[in-house]
Symmetry: C2
Subunit: 120 residues, 2 copies
DNA sequence: CCGATATTTAACTAAATGGTTAATTAACCA
DNA sequence: TGGTTAATTAACCATTTAGTTAAATATCGG
């Protein structure tokens, strides 16, 4: 995996376990073992710790200390950049009844001629 | 990598080469070797083909046929689900001057007492 | 201090990723 | 037909990932 911020964020989101952890964290702080509980039928605690580490490395989760507990907190700020990146593609998923956009695409295509878009 | 749709989409976005390919594709259809051109100083053509495959598997790119060329087209629709997923976390990255939200977090914390949030 | 709980680290393994070069397939065109 | 271009596939390799079990660390509480 590449280690620029945006790549790390998208990578962290590319796993259902990690997304479920974020979902739980969106309801409030929770320590590691309580956070892990729903996943322990599928994987071990160290496996959960590793997923948590991926989220931490992406900056999506921060841990603090409370006795032997490690309360985890969601930090959404990396999602802002991810969202900004996606925003530039919005027109490509919104129903493209944007006739100007459609028209321009058509024009571009028809100017290509028979040389498959390469120089003569 | 997990193979549910959303995971595949986020995974596809978690690489700068693939994001650059999408950026280029957002300007219009382009065949494989023209799309590959900017990357050939960093990697071979088969490497590009593989990245393209990841984008195809995620449904973000479709290929058609024009003689020996394979024009590639951006398909943004998988980004809709990704965006919808992120949307539910918007409040966690938008500047939280949402005083109600802040207040509720505070309350939750203070009701925990000394038992670290566990049952008696 | 001691035993229990919470969490992390270590050491290992199987499978996936991301790249390579060489070979193959497919279509054009002179 | 035969050479050229476009693209994919095959075979291979190094590194990373995602999991495991077992051991280590840290803090609480009696």
């Amino acid at each position: 995996m590449t280690n620029d911020q945006l790549s790390q964020t998208f990578h962290a989101l590319s796993d259902p376990t990690r997304r479920a952890m974020l979902a739980r964290l969106s309801q409030g702080e929770i320590n590691v073992s309580d956070l892990a509980k729903p996943f322990l039928k599928d994987m071990s605690l160290p496996a959960v710790t590793k997923h948590l580490k991926v989220l931490e490395n992406a900056g999506l989760v921060t841990k603090s200390k409370d006795a032997q507990y490690r309360p985890c907190k969601l930090n959404g700020s990396p999602l802002k950049d991810a969202n900004d990146w996606m925003e530039t593609y919005r027109q490509y998923w919104e129903d493209s009844l944007d006739r100007l956009g459609e028209y321009l695409k058509t024009v571009k295509k028809s100017t290509k001629g028979k040389n498959h878009g390469r120089k003569k």
